[in-house]
Symmetry: C3
Subunit: 332 residues, 3 copies
């Protein structure tokens, strides 16, 4: 399982994502993807942004193609984001609520995938609570099908990583010399894994991870400059401060995790704390937020917050990825 | 809460629905909407009607726009009606089953709305069991987003009101001098609230409300000419007789509500009772019907019944409203 | 109920499916459909097949029409197959999860159908666990609506029958002189009922049904040449071997049905057993498979298996049927 690998590039995983000519075929993880490819995806996503009120950017690049959303975990935002991205590229979209249908009948995931493949589904967007499912599927589909990872256990959420990178680039214009602090449940976050690998590839100045000891990651697992349980040390001078969602369920069940009030006091990102950061620091959150727990509610709505912009970038990034794998498909 | 206001126009609510130039931006309630606007909407809806067997009327007026159906209460008919209306105008439609996703994660309604807004959702169709939710959302979205109320607690269901008005106009050709009797659970009906305000604005002759005392409305809340618990008094001479759905659950739990058989005997709209009405009286019901409880089954299928026509008009009215707010949007 | 009828053509059922000029209006059952019509549908389906990697075959023949998927039983594959077929013909598709909405409110099926009809839904695709529901609906809709049976109790699943016929024709090129063996839970299979009637009409050489005695059909109910509980007798010399899904629930509750291991030993279709069949025999399964119970897992993935091709043909067959009833509709 990838979660227990070191952060060195796994040639196998990275290679699995690319077609023979090096073009992007699946998106499973940001780890191991080349800097040029990441930058091209960000550039392409940027082109899909239009001002509010205008008709959203559209293209016909997936016209006639079929995109299936296979969500084995419930999701509103990521599912909606992929759904809109695919429709705005002209694709037919098949939304499968997988919990309530074939799994009842005990069908294996691969048999379901083979079925969709046989129906000429071109791109499958997969979210699953178990590790390695997207790569497992990618290894087994035929050469004409693309798999996009829409959230994999605690391991990977590559389009979330890309939207974070795009948002940071829009505000800071660079990654070199930038200090990014990510605060919260690092141990269980697929978001931080994707974002950290992307930042690392793009040459971020200093990545700091802040969490209670009980939620700290395996230090071999992620690229970072500082791992601390002191939020002030983490935030001081940072250009970007990202709060992570904490699962309330974990607070009751895991030892060493403070209760909600204590969590906010020690790990909540607040306006007061943000004073320690760089004067123009931005505040990010992958959503959905627990306001008043991991982030101060008024800060989430303040000018420093770029949280809704992350959502907007999410659709653009997914359009860029969908269009990109569609091009690889057309060239096959 | 609107439910406890008098039926005087609330400038705030009415104003909230209109853009600065007076064009329709949100549809939250029929209360306070001007007669000219109501008539224009009915005229536009009428244009979207085509004979059965022909391809349904279509337009490209929402092409490239995104409509999200946000139903926090289960619904087949209203959701399907908005879905088809939006698709027949060329919009991309996002159907969110909100019960089973983000609310599990404890996200607030407004954060979900901000997320959809950030994804360039242009029009949000909202149904919620709590009062004031659509107006609350409308007050908080940016200037490019339109909110359409698809059913709000016991308070408001404005597109249902419009389709009732359109159906009555098709059969009677006028509102002046017309006697309309609405029979059933007035106290808990969002339908009657919308229809009553619309009828009032269009100058209906006489609106009569019939219900058991336990289901009577607050007399200050609605515009009417007669409130009675005697169905014969209510129906006598009426040009339009509308039966309301009675929740079976209420029959068991609310004191003073008769059982099913007794309800039909005292408040069921039947062919026999309809003899008291005007000779060409029409029978309406918002659906879904409890046949044999609030309405005699054979009467629902008789020539006097315009119940399925109400459904047909529902799609047309929703197309008219969607197209109208789309025009306001394009002019912003 | 059809299940207890003999396999003689019911003029009523067959006639119900056709418009006055003999063209196909509803698809309820393959029983009684003429050979020429079946062959035309197979020919039309064949035209909708394209190589993998290419854009799937599309047409605009249902543009502007509305197809509603009304699944009263959960389904992933059949629902997805109809959904894609309709979209690839340019139709608007309305997916109704009927369990969780109007049935909660106690609405009758017919009232729901009348509602959809009133919304100008042109084609309704219906799956229901009760017998006779599709025909009941077909008898009650107006002359502009088509009903397609997507699975009816143990009785009928005509598009599954058509895709089986198409798959067999692709590999064998003929039906005359062909020996087909169907193995498993014959008693409860709507698949076998449709496929058997279709094979019979197309003049199959010899149809053999193999099942444990407890799962054998009423012998008057189906056209067949041999009914046996001995799988070797059934498979010997067969050109086509089709394994049926066995409901695991039945194994625990029905007397006379062996447990899983014993079932595989006695009724599982395996590579070893296939040696008894014709040298170029193909293996079929309607899916979803219980690998290792009714079919050997490695055989399902072997060159003899045409199981995923059945799925591909399923979309093509449904496009052919949808286009066909759309033409009948346009001529009305």
């Amino acid at each position: 399982m990838q979660a227990t690998e070191t952060f060195q590039i796994s040639v196998d995983e990275a290679g699995l994502q690319l077609a023979a000519d090096g073009s992007l075929r699946h998106l499973l993880t940001l780890k191991g993807l080349e800097k040029t490819l990441l930058i091209e995806l960000l550039d392409e996503a940027q082109r899909f942004l239009t001002p509010f009120g205008a008709i959203p950017a559209r293209s016909r690049s997936l016209e006639g193609r079929t995109v299936a959303n296979l969500f084995f975990e419930p999701s509103t935002r990521t599912r909606a984001s992929f759904d809109l991205a695919a429709k705005r590229l002209g694709a037919d979209v098949l939304n499968l609520d997988v919990n309530t249908s074939s799994r009842k009948k005990g069908e294996s995931i691969l048999d379901m995938i083979y079925t969709l493949q046989a129906m000429h589904v071109d791109i499958m967007v997969v979210r699953d609570a178990s590790a390695s499912v997207p790569a497992h599927i990618a290894r087994n589909v035929n050469e004409y099908v693309s798999i996009l990872n829409a959230g994999e256990a605690d391991i990977s959420h590559p389009t979330q990583g890309l939207l974070d990178l795009l948002t940071i680039r829009q505000h800071k214009g660079r990654f070199e010399g930038l200090t990014v602090a990510i605060v919260g449940d690092i141990a269980h976050s697929r978001v931080v894994r994707s974002t950290a690998h992307g930042l690392n590839t793009l040459g971020v100045g200093e990545l700091r991870l802040v969490s209670p000891a009980a939620l700290a990651p395996d230090p071999d697992e992620l690229p970072f400059a500082l791992l601390t349980d002191n939020i002030d040390d983490g935030i001081r001078g940072a250009d970007v401060v990202m709060a992570l969602r904490i699962q309330r369920e974990r607070m009751d069940s895991l030892e060493g995790i403070p209760g909600m009030d204590e969590y906010f006091a020690n790990y909540g990102v607040s306006a007061k704390r943000l004073e320690l950061a760089a004067p123009d620091a931005i505040v990010m959150h992958p959503g959905p937020m627990n306001r008043g727990i991991e982030i101060e509610s008024s800060l989430a709505d303040s000018p420093a917050s770029v949280i809704t912009q992350q959502v907007t970038n999410g659709v653009a990034v997914r359009m860029a990825v969908l269009e990109r794998v569609g091009k690889t498909m057309a060239a096959t």
